[in-house]
């Protein structure tokens, strides 16, 4: 029995990102005073796609304030993991003070990454608002009261399951896979 299942194929993957971009445009119009921040490492593949799409589709859009946020040093499982995570780069060359922030990650699972990201974000100023965009929302596996505002795909799966988003940049194809157990990954 194959342990993995494609739950979002290449075509639907592209449509989903397109829909998320449309939803962002409906909410933020021309993105004045709004910035896009991808959570390192895997949220940045999605944020890069969205940024490119928005930048090319809205003719009058000013260069979008865009950043990448690494949350390694803000995680609440430091010293509780077997091995430490290796940090990625943080590239935010502006302050988020009084800006609307769209935080982007690939999978929303326990909510702990987003909690860490919110703490980390505080170190770049006090945003006017923060909204969360995720490609996958595993809605029944939350440890914290954190919800997404823009959702690509809702996945109901058991705790031992694993959802992996594959990107063309790294795996050759855009798709989302569901594994019945973390060990199969």
């Amino acid at each position: 029995m194959s342990a993995e299942k494609v739950i979002l194929n290449h075509e639907r993957f592209a449509l989903t990102i397109e829909r998320l971009c449309q939803q962002l445009v409906e909410t933020y119009d021309d993105f004045s005073n709004t910035c896009l921040i991808g959570v390192q490492p895997r949220g940045t593949y999605l944020s890069e796609r969205i940024r490119t799409r928005l930048q090319s589709s809205i003719p009058d859009i000013a260069p979008l304030a865009y950043g990448k946020l690494d949350i390694t040093f803000y995680r609440d499982d430091f010293r509780r993991r077997e091995k430490p995570l290796t940090p990625s780069v943080t590239e935010i060359n502006f302050l988020v003070e009084n800006k609307n922030v769209v935080l982007v990650d690939d999978v929303l699972y326990t909510g702990r990454t987003i909690q860490a990201a919110l703490t980390a974000l505080n170190h770049f100023g006090r945003p006017r608002s923060v909204e969360l965009l995720v490609l996958v929302d595993r809605r029944f596996n939350r440890h914290l009261p954190i919800q997404a505002d823009f959702i690509g795909l809702t996945v109901d799966a058991l705790d031992e399951a694993y959802v992996r988003v594959q990107w063309q940049e790294t795996s050759g194809e855009d798709q989302i896979l569901l594994y019945s157990s973390k060990e199969d990954v």
């Binding site: 490492p41 690494d70 390694t72 040093f73 803000y74 430091f78 010293r79 993991r81 077997e82 091995k83 430490p84 995570l85 290796t86 940090p87 990625s88 780069v89 943080t90 302050l95 703490t119 980390a120 505080n122 170190h123 770049f124 100023g125 990954v185």
Partner: protein, 310 residues
Amino acid sequence: MSITQQLSTRHLLGIKYLLPEDIQLIFETADSFKEVINRPIKKVPSLRDITIVNLFFEDSTRTRISFELAEKRLSADVLNFSASASSVKKGETLLDTVNNILSMKVDMVVMRHPAPGAPHFLARHIAANIINAGDGTHEHPTQALLDAYSIREQLGDLRGKKVAIFGDILHSRVALSNIFCLKKLGAEVTVCGPPTLIPKHLHELGVGVSYDVRQTLQWCDVANVLRIQMERQDIKYFPSLREYAQHFGINKALLHSLDKPIIIMHPGPINRGVEITSDVADSEHSIILQQVENGVAIRMAVLYLLAARN
């Protein structure tokens, strides 16, 4: 999943015990911390449940402030201890002092001690992570790491780069740690100073030995200039400071006579006009203050990676 890596050791006692991969991991982690300390808010909460004691049995300005700042930027709780203001004066042993401090639930110990091997002794007897912040004339690992990191920042990969260490090699823990670190990273090392201040069997570590300052400067890409440690010299190793400055001091005229610019480093404290003149120490080729800035990032990386191993 994200990549995970960890150090091969629980303590940082000396560069001698590190693998080249450990050094690379410390450098990559320091890159991230360097970005953190250049933010408007220079603090991350990583070590918020960790208590660190800084045990300084010997004087220090840079190392102590740098460690304390690194600990605070990582949100650790910090205790400072100076031997001169403690019960050590009343005759308490090192082990008793440290065990008493540890019974107050301290997780890490940063120690500077005049006796070579003091942190190794502690590591055998106590459970906390130990970081050597200088043990006598033996090792000063974080200084060597920040020196190599600063060179890497200027020149890229250290493999094949030529680094010369000038001055009081005999009494310098910075020299020994630097030699270990640079060799592990594939750099070529030559030491240069008066024969009396160069240990007899140093070439066995695979370093060149020279007594000619001009020739060595011409050879190297980087000159790391060390202080004459008068406080550790119980006999006369050279006739006078003036004579030392004339024969082994590095000055502008000497640098101008070379056919290429070289990078000038100094671990501090500088004795201006002795091992290096002011115009050289403050010149555009000097990276002395960058070394100090990098020191905080390197120490944050070391503390973070050692704490993560618990």
